[in-house]
Amino acid sequence: MTGKYAVEFRNVSKNFGDSVILRDLNFGIQRGKITTILGFSGAGKTTLMKHILGLVMPTSGDVIVLDQTVNHLGELALREFRTNFGMVFQYAALFDFLSSFENVAFPLREFTKLSEEEIRSKVMSLLDSVGILPEAAKRLPSELSGGMRKRVGLARGLALDPHIMLYDEPTSGLDPITTHTVYDLMRDTQRRNEHRGFTSIIISHDIHATLKYSDYIVFMEKGRVVEHLDVENFKKSENPVIRRFLEL
């Protein structure tokens, strides 16, 4: 895995029946950086993310992730391939029948042969790194606040030391202070893991946080990539849609 891009879209289009969701996408997401996919609702951001994970296949074109063409992988290979990812969902998607500790331990139990002691030590260290106190480790997701759930979700996503971390609207429903705490945490996670080519991809429509925390921004509208720039150049973009977004 030495390429410049962690993810590359080559002539990717996606149709669902008659409706075109993604239109001829050609771009790459830089390895070792934070890239935010920005756009209005219905722009195709979530479908794009599902293509990266191989949950949805393109109608035409190729999706290349970590030097593998995702749309050429078989079902079993895809499952193995997905262990390269960590993901934080919009509402954390913690398993509601498991405690915070067990949620983070879940991927370790499923995919590693670590002993109970090693699992315990790794889970507590992950929870500590996202600011979850040991006493909260025993709580069920329903007993945690929205911000705490996102943190546990982040710890769970990091459990298998993924190469790519995906965040789907990670701060929706959170107050502004917690939003920035979560973003700080995402940035710290990126910095701690940058040396091994760790890449963060954020799906968002929070323009202010995006400008503050991202290295690159991909702006989508109606299934097309309108701009793909670093943050400084994005701020200077003359594109009227982006200007409208920036002025919000």
Partner: protein, 265 residues
């Protein structure tokens, strides 16, 4: 609107409905084959299977106990009311026991499990779907059918014959209480008549039926969980469909199984 337009609209509606149901049947068949495929693929999660057997079996025992004891008792009493006129009340034992073994135990256990566990399966999986927990499993590289559906289907398939056997034993005990203790039929005569008429094949018939019902309740419950759309309302709808179709399936399949098993047992 003229008559031709109305007729066209009706035919279109009918066609769309037929297509929708055929599509649903196709999806259900696809789901069934996918779960079958993943049943035989490692990793085998025995702990999840035991958890499901415990949930469906052990946690249903009290309801099965209540249902079976009163079924046996009331059936014995009804037979007595009918048969005493022709002096055949000593036949209460074999009639109730055969009916329990062949029909009442598997069917009523099936209805109880469809109501209790079919609903729970659809609600648990449905709420996991609407809160993206199933997506989280898939993103981790875990097959959600294998993780969620397979243990529940196998759990129901294995728990149902056990519940049906318990239903039979307790139902027999309920009928014995009425027959021997209330109506005062001679106990030796009561049990003697049962051993005269009962055959092992009758018990086997009930257990086979219960196993098939368990599998179907599992498939229907999990399918309606996986196909939930929307939020809480969707989960409610899925749960409702799981119970309704689970119960209907038990009753309909019972008829065909009875016709089939009557020829081979």
């Amino acid at each position: 609107m003229n008559l031709k337009a109305i007729a066209e609209a009706r035919v279109t509606d009918l066609g769309e409905n037929i297509l929708k149901h055929l599509q649903g049947l196709g999806e259900f068949t696809n789901f069934t084959f996918r779960t079958l495929f993943w049943t035989f693929k490692p990793p085998f999660r025995f702990r999840l299977l035991f958890d499901q057997i415990y949930f469906m079996g052990n946690k249903s025992i009290f309801i099965i106990f209540l249902t079976s004891i009163f079924t046996g008792a009331v059936f014995a009493f009804q037979i007595y009311l009918g048969f005493k006129a022709i002096n055949a009340d000593s036949f209460i034992g074999p009639i109730v026991t055969i009916a329990l073994a062949k029909e009442l135990a598997p069917v009523l256990s099936g209805l109880v499990v469809a109501g209790r566990c079919g609903a729970a399966m659809a609600a648990q999986i449905g709420s996991m779907k609407v809160t993206e927990q199933i997506d989280a499993l898939e993103v981790m590289g875990i097959n959600s059918y294998q993780y969620l559906a397979v243990p529940r289907i196998l759990g129901a398939t294995l728990a149902m014959p056990l519940l049906s056997a318990i239903f039979l034993l307790i139902g027999y005990w309920g009928s014995w209480l009425i027959g021997v203790k209330v109506i005062q039929i001679d106990e030796i005569l009561y049990t003697q008549k049962i051993s005269d008429f009962m055959r092992l094949g009758m018990v086997a018939e009930g257990l086979i039926k219960a196993t098939v019902f368990g599998y179907l309740i599992g498939i229907i419950g999990t399918y309606h969980g996986f196909t939930v759309t929307g939020g809480a309302e969707g989960v409610g709808r899925g749960t409702n469909m799981a119970v309704v179709w689970g119960m209907i399936t038990v009753l309909v399949v019972d008829f065909f199984l009875t016709s089939f098993l009557a020829r081979i047992l």
